[in-house]
Symmetry: D2
Subunit: 401 residues, 4 copies
């Protein structure tokens, strides 16, 4: 029944789905329950309250859709916009491309700001578009906080500043799929109107929850948005929130308990410490890449992502061979290069429930794969660079002192 | 962390979500995996092949959406129809009502054939509408195979006969949420164009998979259907089927392995034997209801459902009190009466991974609750009626002989 | 990989091993840990403190041996007695027989007081032996609190009274394997010197922990007891207790966490309420047996066991056929008649994590099996008798109010 | 409920208990079962047959005791020897010391051959003792195959040669706790009379099974051996083997299914390949230790252990500080130095379900801890030495090609 064997543990370093902590696996190891009993609403209530903390919002309204990130995108867009509405969207990699594709297919008028893959969103162009848009034809600015395909993190605070500077009322929609719970994200402070993530990313759960959070302004917009929606409609949820039964249709009992456990772990470690841990592991990974003499796909430090690093391979190497080899020989799962960067980069995901030694094992594995594939890496070089940094910066684990 | 305690096992007799077999819980007790490795496609391939068997189709194309039954409805409709298209739909209970509501919100022109709650779909009216529709304005006939709110099973073979008799090309869309894997269902033989179910029903999995199966005619229709769709689009899946990677976005690894285990159990028992078991348990439940002197909400035997029985309570009793009491005192989860039959019926779900003694325990529990609530039930009467039938009709468990 | 299949849940009504609550299964679903880290001693400390509560002792010292009840017996005897020591032991069924056999093989001089199987320990004979033993040649009185083979509960308070009356210093050793956590047991009040149980009984864990509790007098005796012992030696444990590392050899991490969860559940329900629940379920079972016109193997009410009922079948029926049939046809596990009562009785275990509806399902199953096997049972009769009693006596589940 | 938290996975590198593969965790995630049903014997039969393969015996008789290695020792000794019998035993580290202590407490006349801790068993002294023992007063030679405290593997083939050379009939008893399933072990070829291991070692299960295998000669000896034993008696098992019910007392259902899964994994990988993998990981570890400029506690290459490496720290460093620090800061569990080598060595366990990248992560962790503690390690040096070797020697994972 298993399709992946091999001694020891799998080394899962794709940028999602990520490793699930044992505590979460345990919480989900359960039979179904009647979601109309008093117990499931009681649990749900705590989840809705606590999930706001990962968005850093007090005024937002969260929705736990039984879907994936793609569904969460669709929910964000269809609840706030009407067909024909103009959106501004940034094309900087495969996932922003897919979101733009979705926006087009949902019949929005997408104004695409394109950058090289490896660059961040071009906020100067955004500023000029916003400046020019005196009549407020732009209904929403859609941005991927962290482009998973290239390891690029965009500056959301600047987007807010631009909108505020021009007093532009456009909605601010953010894909936080590979950022929320791992990178600094401040929904209220940055005036984000809809933020969303997926359970299998930094929350370290199985796939199956598309978590969407709407600002009061977004909720207001949903009352008049004419995009067709039923499954993804916020209104149905709000109706059941009022009733105190919460669910317009059947939720996954297992994922609800899993989310409870995942949030408990996050708060126990401390959200800010979780973000600091991601910063530490991200930096260690980049130091290793540098020590190997390889280039980060991300072109400037300001965009470096602490959840995923896309590594550019030399021209004579096919990066998908690295990914294949890692999987077949060392039980190591790395991310492929996608679309424009297919064959040119491989990706190391370093998000979710992860610690220093797991990452160092991965880096040592990448070194062996690089050698396998003919790249003249010096064994231990990346690990040394990463270790030197980590040994200086890793705090004691509070629960163990 | 648990919101439902009490000694011993929960007795889950809502008509979904249902009890998950231990084998399935075990199969899902696993870490995430990279769904882009060669392993997940290999697994997926077996699932897509085998899932066709539960629909009894060889020509159909299945889709495993990370969603619920509501999402599966939306997928069935939006992939085959265009806004303004006329559908014929039967209103016979809460779930057919909700599907009709969805059809309206998706901008179809829904021609509703209403019956009393407790009756089956009025196929005579359908026949006359089909007969009249010489110009083929009806694009689809939408029917819930088994109305979970009232315990009514509709006759799908007759629907097909009507369409064939008038050589009407309308698509035949079937909600099999509480029927497939439990009641006799024959996609190919009955010319069903789209059939769908949810994982938490007779498949006995957690919620999270909306399983949709499309006939070649439905696939053809999807090429021109103009309803807006992205997450639920079949085309995206078909593209990835061709590539052999299968998934346009991240699936739940746990549910894939769970589905593998659930299918293995189904085939091991034998789909026809599973259906026979449901017939046995359904009949036993109805005999108990009769012995208690209570009425089945379903008005005629031809509509009796073998997956759920809605029991009408005497006028002076509030059925929701029965459900509350069962849960609070005996750890027994029953289904509430919904909408029009709220307060008037309670429901016993008898579908999925279930056996004789579990059902008899439930029936004994219902007897105690009835007494609790003031109904003059004779203790043991329902159990006796059910037992006499079951003791005569239950075969030996093949794997134990 | 499974050797027992069949739809739905297994109905496990042997008097151990018993059903494991989901919370306990979850707690045990974990990887190994280093038992020499600071974490395992911290956990162990809470276990040793809390496990005393199930013995109702404050002065006792508990030991968690990685063994079974048979090993716990051996630990109780070899730590307190020397070869040739005279013990008084009661032969009333298969398990007391096995313990006596062990005592003989460990070279004690066993003075056996035999009763009919179905009777309790003959305490009058004990009294006369104690009265006569002026020179205190009797070193220990060994008694099985609850004889699992016949469903007989002995009166431990009377044993203590006899010893006290004659101011006899004999050690009082009690097998509480099928009583502790289910029947009223008071180590300190009754002056029990060694009490023991196994994890797979009323604690509702897997097999693997032999839990032994020693009074100060027993500990004192262990200093001079000359029986050979190493694995089962208390001294090795006491040495590690002092060091604060607790384990002379490797414990099962999973069972430690499982025990933690099992104790938490027990205390949450309340030990006295757990005992009351067993009394309720025991009585209900006996009422059913009576309604079937069958005899309880236990000859007097004072000995009726609330954890297991041995049911005598009519002479022309072979009781093992009932057990076989129950397993093969209804997925119901009952206990066989053992040794002297083989073929003559079958046993219904009603201990551990169990509730009313599970038991009623079992009773309904037994009715069908009886009919299968040719006994003219009236369907529903036992269930009715049990239900009438339970419906009157079952309290609301506190955590659900 | 958890006593060990911290983000990411624990890095468990003590020489037992070791990491449990997910497949085994899954197999054990189950409710109890009636061990007297036909299913458990059917499962047990396959286990007894297959477990012989890990001992490389066809003539041996295995026993699966619900106990630990310490209990397995006791079973080996008490079933084959009588009080006063002379044994020859080698004192080379903490575990051989404990076994010798047990032998003494069980009243055997132990003839101890002592070596420096870090040396193997002195087989020359054995040879001279055997040579001198014309009257065959030596009843058993007891040897620890792999001394876990010092990382020393003894040469069992030579022991057999010595016994054969002098045609000495002494029983040959082997503690294979940290060798069997990991190091080359050949019960039949080497004429081992009793071999034993524990489930939490190379079998990668939880603690709880003491697996003992007896040669025909050992079985014969058990008929006359006068050591007192009940729980550990082979005779009771043999009686139940004959009956086909296999268990004299209650086994752990979960461990039986776990053992089934563990054996399936072992045979799937191939026992010889498992042993080769241990050789590879052992060598890699030793290369790292050398690169760090540290000494292996094992004094000669012929004794190097492929399951555990004891690393000697410089005199000014307290090795237990390394172990503490590793656990508190990096979630890394290493083995302490025990007894004579306490404070002087720390141990890296590299046995059981383990792969290259896990080991490299551990080695990187040790480097950071060494630096933490003030040892001037060069970052990456050990990893580089190990990686260079592993990259050359690691085969592709067969199930992934």
């Amino acid at each position: 029944m298993d399709y992946v064997n091999g001694p020891g543990r799998n080394h899962l370093f794709v940028p999602g789905p990520v490793n699930i902590p044992e505590q979460v696996l345990r919480a989900m190891n359960r039979n179904n329950e009647d979601y109309r009993s008093p117990a499931v609403p009681a649990l749900t209530k705590t989840l809705l309250e606590d999930v706001k903390k990962i968005f850093k919002t007090t005024s937002g309204t969260p929705f736990l859709f039984p879907t994936t990130g793609t569904g969460a995108w669709e929910s964000a867009l269809t609840n706030t916009l009407s067909p024909g509405d103009r959106t501004v969207s940034f094309l900087i990699g495969q996932f922003s491309l897919l979101w733009i594709d979705q926006q087009k297919r949902l019949n929005f008028d997408v104004d695409v700001i394109e950058s090289d893959w490896g660059q961040g969103a071009n906020l100067e162009v955004l500023a000029s578009k916003i400046a020019e848009d005196k009549s407020h034809t732009i209904k929403a600015v859609c941005i991927v906080h962290n482009e998973t395909a290239t390891g690029v993190t965009n500056n959301l605070a600047t987007v807010r500043k631009i909108l505020d500077h021009y007093q532009h009322p456009a909605l601010f929609l953010v894909d936080g799929v590979s950022s929320i719970c791992a990178l600094d994200f401040r929904m209220d402070e940055w005036g984000v109107d809809v933020a969303l993530t997926g359970s299998q990313k930094a929350l370290s759960l199985p796939t199956g929850l598309g978590i969407v959070c709407a600002s009061p302004k977004a909720l207001e917009a949903s009352k008049t948005a004419k995009s067709v929606r039923v499954f993804f409609d916020w209104g149905d949820y709000l109706k059941f929130y009022k009733l105190g039964t919460y669910w317009p249709y059947t939720p996954s009992i297992q994922l609800l308990y899993g989310l409870r456990a995942a949030l408990d772990l996050l708060f126990e470690e401390g959200l800010d410490k979780v973000i600091a841990r991601h910063a530490r592991l991200g930096k260690a990974t980049r130091l290793a890449v540098e020590a190997w003499g390889l280039k980060n796909c991300t072109q400037k430090e300001e965009w470096f992502s602490d959840t995923v690093t896309a590594v550019v391979v030399p021209p004579h190497i096919e990066s998908s061979e690295i990914v294949k080899r890692a999987w077949k020989r060392y039980n190591l799962s790395l991310g492929l290069g996608l679309n424009k960067v297919a064959g040119k980069v491989f990706r190391i995901g370093h998000l979710g429930s992860l610690n220093e030694l797991q990452l160092l094992g991965c880096l040592a594995g990448v070194e062996m794969v690089l050698k396998d594939i003919g790249y003249p890496v010096k064994f231990g070089s990346g690990v040394a660079a990463a270790s030197a940094f980590l040994q200086n910066s890793t705090p004691l684990i509070p629960s163990r002192i």
